[in-house]
Amino acid sequence: MKFRVERDVLADAVTWTARTLPTRPPAPVLAGVRMEADPSGILNLASFDYETSARSELPAEVAEPGTVLVSGRLLAEISRALPSKPVDVTLEGNKVVLTCGASRFTLLTMPVDEYPALPAMPELSGTVPGEALTAAVAQVTVAASRDDTLPLLTGVRVEIEDEKITLLATDRYRLALRELTWTPSTPGFSAIALVRARTLNDVARSLGASGGAVNVGLSTGNGVDLVGFEAGGRHTTSQLVDGDYPPVRRLFPDSSPIHAVVATAPLIDAAKRVSLVAERNTPIRMSFSEGQVVLDAGQGDDAQASEALEAVLTGEDIAVAFNPQYLLDGLGALGTDFVRLSFTHPNKPVEFTGQDSLDGEDDSTYRYLLVPIRFTG
């Protein structure tokens, strides 16, 4: 095997392919990145940890085709550190020699025939605009659980009904729902899948951010359930999370007699200031009355803080308390100039939606539901 490749292109592709490599691989070969030089002038890179696979292809001047397996972490670090010159890669015996300018590295190869076969990319189900996907995923995954003892809740529930995708995530204390549109490959396409929030975040960052369209493939009901994403010559597949997602949609209240509208950015700033005195796990209180909301935190002999902001309240006065981080997560995810908080009762979940003006209508394509903190008597 012998090929030449541009340093920047190589570094970029190796970094992306190696990013999901496990720190403690279940088998030694899984710490590797497979390089396959194709006579057609393409270098294929692959990584796999039995759960997630990644593949990228890049142009290369292939003198001799061949396939090798080398340490992914090492290859990524080396390629990032190389000078900006063409990189020559040759297989010599059981070693890969990498030269770039005056630098020369020798890497031990791993047995490529012991490397597992990567799952095939599922058939195309539809296409979603990269930017929309990135925004939607960020809004929903704030609410996903990071607790691996609750695997189900580390996933995002994806519900697809023709042109509409609904994403749902919850860590039991808050629930986020986001709707977006896409182009299914067959009209009337319908599916439900539970995708790891980590995978979605990663795809949104690495594939969606480029701005182009992201191709999505879903294969369910035939052995291993997989989701695949592809954009710009990079493919990634991930096993779906197994299990029945709890019926969380019903948790959104049917109607809320009280609602308040506040400018989002000033509210975020005020909440950040006030929460400085809220120790871990102590709440920030929000008291809404005619024309204003007062934020305060801290109690007793400890430090205290309060701040008042303009708010438009419809319905009775109401006071609620929130975990400061959960509050900031929701406000930060909205991305609109104004936030509407809808209440039914001080102890019942509060729904956050965005709107463009103080007296406008709210946009229900993103909803963040948060349970207030309760004080024991």
């Binding site: 039991r172 709440p283 349970v371 903190i373 309760r374």
Partner: protein
């Protein structure tokens, strides 16, 4: 009852200069046993052991019993062998907690700076009380007298420059005594002690240190810090070195209490059967939760203790999503923790359940889940257990059982 190593060679008098010695450590003597004797004066002067009957362990023993070698946490069978004439009493935690409460009230009248460490010991910072009540030893004597007069039990008091030294001083004052370790005598006092006297030195660290030739506090103090840190780790090495020179900067934190509520039982015969084990864990969780509710506290962590027939003891703990005093929640976690212990196929001799890192329930802020907020029956389990408490209050503990 304290098992902190004492040095028989330690002098009983280290001087009388009290300047800078504003920390008091008040430690009740053989507390549970003393409470029993206060209630039944005919037992005075006799060897009395409080603890589980049959195969339980010793919770407390009078000094008369200790003279026979009886120690706290010792299996009761061994204690009975050492001291066959001992009077063995089943613990009455209600009584002890009542006396403990009263004692803490007495301490609270001296200064608000009282840090309760456990049911029978507390630290006081009397710096601000000196003008009103006199020198620290005078305050200490006053506390000892009031506890004895009011409850008929004795307390020992250590007076020193900081918490660490004050605690060692009270250990050396026992029983029924007081010891002042003047600021200037602190290092001399410490340097006559074995290394096990230092906080943080358990059996394991003691062994490690011994392998490095360190068996006394004096030797540890004279070991250079980098070598010490190589032996026991960076943080722990620095910590021990500070203690060995009498440096302990932790303030007395009022109300602060590394408190926990636990229950454990030793089986009459070692148990193999998982269902028997699970049932016992359930009973223990029930007992622990009921006690927490009575004390108005909730636990943030659940821990379990499993001792197999070979006397190897393993503890496991897990932090809960939110603090609780509900038996069912404690049981579900405890059961999993017990199941996670690798017993190497051996039967279980003892099992214990404990609620740790407890907080006052009153005014506590809790983050309910969406499910709990949506469910009108949320809190139903706790209400059911409260009803259980009420029934037991009237008809006794065995009157009703928890169907978790």
């Amino acid at each position: 009852m304290s098992r902190a190593p004492r040095s028989a060679g330690a002098r009983r008098d280290w001087g009388s200069d009290e300047s800078g010695c504003t920390i008091l450590h008040v430690d009740m003597d053989a507390f549970f046993a003393s409470c029993e004797i206060a209630r039944r004066p005919e037992l005075r002067g006799k060897p009395v052991i409080v603890g589980g009957q049959e195969r339980g362990v010793v919770s407390a023993a009078t000094y008369e019993a200790r003279a026979y070698g009886v120690k706290s946490a010792m299996p009761m069978t061994r204690a009975r062998l050492l001291c066959p004439q001992a009077i063995v009493l089943t613990p009455d935690f209600g009584l002890y907690s009542e006396v403990s409460h009263g004692v803490m009230e007495i301490l609270g009248e001296v200064t608000p700076l009282v840090e309760k460490v456990s049911v029978d010991e507390a630290f006081l910072d009397v710096a601000g009380a000196r003008r009103r009540l006199g020198e620290p030893t005078r305050i200490g004597a006053g506390i000892r007298a009031r506890i004895r007069e009011t409850y008929g039990v004795t307390a020992s008091v250590g007076v020193a420059r900081n918490k660490f030294v004050a605690k060692l001083a009270s250990t050396h004052a026992k029983p029924d005594g007081m010891l002042l370790v003047p600021d200037a005598a602190t290092v001399d006092f410490l340097h006559c002690l074995p290394v096990g006297a230092l906080w943080g030195v358990g059996e394991k660290t003691e062994k490690t240190l011994a392998a490095w030739g360190i068996t006394t506090v004096a030797e540890l103090a004279r070991t250079d810090l980098p070598s010490l840190q190589t032996a026991v780790g960076r943080v722990s090495g620095a910590h021990l070195h500070n203690l060995a020179w009498g440096r302990d900067l932790r303030p007395v934190v009022p109300g602060h209490e590394e408190h926990s509520v636990g229950a454990e039982t030793t089986f009459a015969t070692d148990v193999h059967d998982e269902s028997v084990l699970a049932r016992r864990v359930r009973e223990l969780a029930d007992r622990v939760a009921a006690r927490m509710r009575r004390q108005g506290v909730v636990a943030r962590t659940v821990s379990v203790k499993v001792r197999t027939s070979d006397f190897v003891t393993v503890t496991r703990s897990r932090t809960l999503d939110g603090p609780t005093d509900v038996a069912r929640e404690i049981y579900l976690v405890a059961r999993e923790l017990v199941a996670s212990v690798d017993r190497h196929g051996l039967p279980v001799r003892l099992v214990g359940v404990r609620g740790e890192r407890v907080l006052e329930r009153q005014g506590l802020a809790a983050q309910p889940t969406l499910e709990e907020a949506a469910d009108p029956r949320s809190g139903a389990q706790r209400d059911a257990e409260l009803a259980l408490d009420a029934v037991r209050e009237r008809f006794g503990r065995g009157a009703i059982d928890l169907g978790v």
